[in-house]
């Protein structure tokens, strides 16, 4: 029994099964951001692992086959980014400026507010890319000395929060344009924000997807440079 419980194929299979359950629950509850499939899957798998006395590294023996696919999936993010970019060519300059301002705000606000709340340096590094889509945030955090798991959770929580808060945050600023709402959602809250933007309107969704892709590129380049500066002061 112990041999089976620590066999990679069991954890590979259970990871996919837990995700399918999570995805089903998510759709059943009308894609409510709070029941994001990743939360549900982790909530199913972690108690099981603890109960059977399986360590994370034993679990990862099986799960790493899924984890590996993050590489080609990250590359594939270029495909939706390309088709969204082609669509908004005439608006490119305002979008690029808003991207730079918003992207920097995302990084700097996480670092400053994090420091204010006394988060440890490794957590700060994992939080800095929190507005960027998960695979890229994980790769960035790991490369810069943070932790990929903490980054993954910070990113998913950010997406959930963004989708829940957008109405209240943008209301005082009287944002009526769905393109603006979508762009702000995608830039700050990536995939979960984009999924929610599509519930507002197709236009909001398209701009959200575009902002998510653009911020992934922006943050990947700006964050390593910014951190080099941050560490100097």
């Amino acid at each position: 029994m112990q041999a089976l419980v620590s066999h990679p194929v069991l954890w590979l299979t259970l990871t996919i099964a837990a995700y399918l359950v999570g995805d089903w629950v998510f759709r059943r509850l009308g894609c409510m951001p709070l029941v994001h499939p990743v939360f549900v899957s982790a909530a199913l798998l972690i108690p099981l692992l603890k109960w059977w006395g399986i360590s994370y590294s034993q679990y990862f023996e099986g799960a790493r086959f899924i984890h590996f696919l993050l590489g080609p999936a990250t590359v594939a993010l270029a495909i939706p980014l390309y088709s969204n970019l082609a669509r908004v060519r005439q608006m490119l300059w305002p979008l690029l400026i808003a991207l730079s301002v918003g992207g920097l705000t995302g990084i700097v606000s996480a670092l400053l507010i994090g420091k204010l709340f006394g988060l440890s340096p490794a957590v700060l590094l994992s939080f800095a890319p929190k507005s960027v889509t998960t695979p890229i945030a994980m790769a960035l955090a790991e490369k810069l000395g943070g932790n990929a798991s903490v980054a993954a959770v910070a990113v998913v929580v950010t997406g959930v929060l963004g989708a829940m808060m957008v109405r209240y945050v943008l209301e005082p600023f009287k944002i009526k344009d769905d393109a603006v709402t979508g762009f702000a959602l995608g830039l700050s809250s990536h995939g979960a924000g984009t999924a929610y933007a599509f519930q507002i309107s197709a236009e909001a969704g398209a701009f959200s997807g575009l902002a998510m892709g653009m911020n992934a590129v922006f943050t990947s380049v700006a964050l390593p440079l910014g951190l080099a500066l941050w560490c100097r002061f």
Partner: protein, 116 residues
């Protein structure tokens, strides 16, 4: 399908090579994404097999970070100690980022409209 997969893997590999050669602090997979984007811009789109495989991977993107999500089990103490602060940081920083982006874009679009 294999054809599309190898395009994605080749871009990733090229990204890793580039990052290593130039000693960049960019993740190799992100460099791979930029390479594929450049290719798409150059030849106006990616091939059909690449789009198909990419579509499959992206439609189940959330599955791919479940293994990392489970990694939380190793950070129980961290969350017990810093969890509340972490949540506050995420709420505040996300709200600020969203508001600043929206206000900037709204202002830029209004200015452009006034000019034309």
């Amino acid at each position: 399908m294999l054809q599309g997969f190898i395009v994605l893997m080749a871009c990733w590999l090229a990204g890793e090579v580039l990052v290593n050669l130039l000693a960049l602090s960019l993740p190799g997979s992100v460099a791979g994404m930029l390479i594929l984007l450049a290719v798409a811009l150059g030849r106006r789109g990616v091939g059909k097999p690449t789009a198909e495989v990419g579509g499959v991977l992206l439609s189940h993107l959330a599955l791919l970070f479940v293994p990392a999500g489970v990694g939380l089990m190793e950070h129980g103490r961290l969350f017990a100690e810093e969890g509340l602060g972490m949540l506050a940081v995420l709420v505040l920083s996300t709200a600020v980022t969203m508001a600043v982006t929206a206000v900037t874009l709204k202002w830029l679009l209004a200015r452009r409209k006034a000019e034309s």
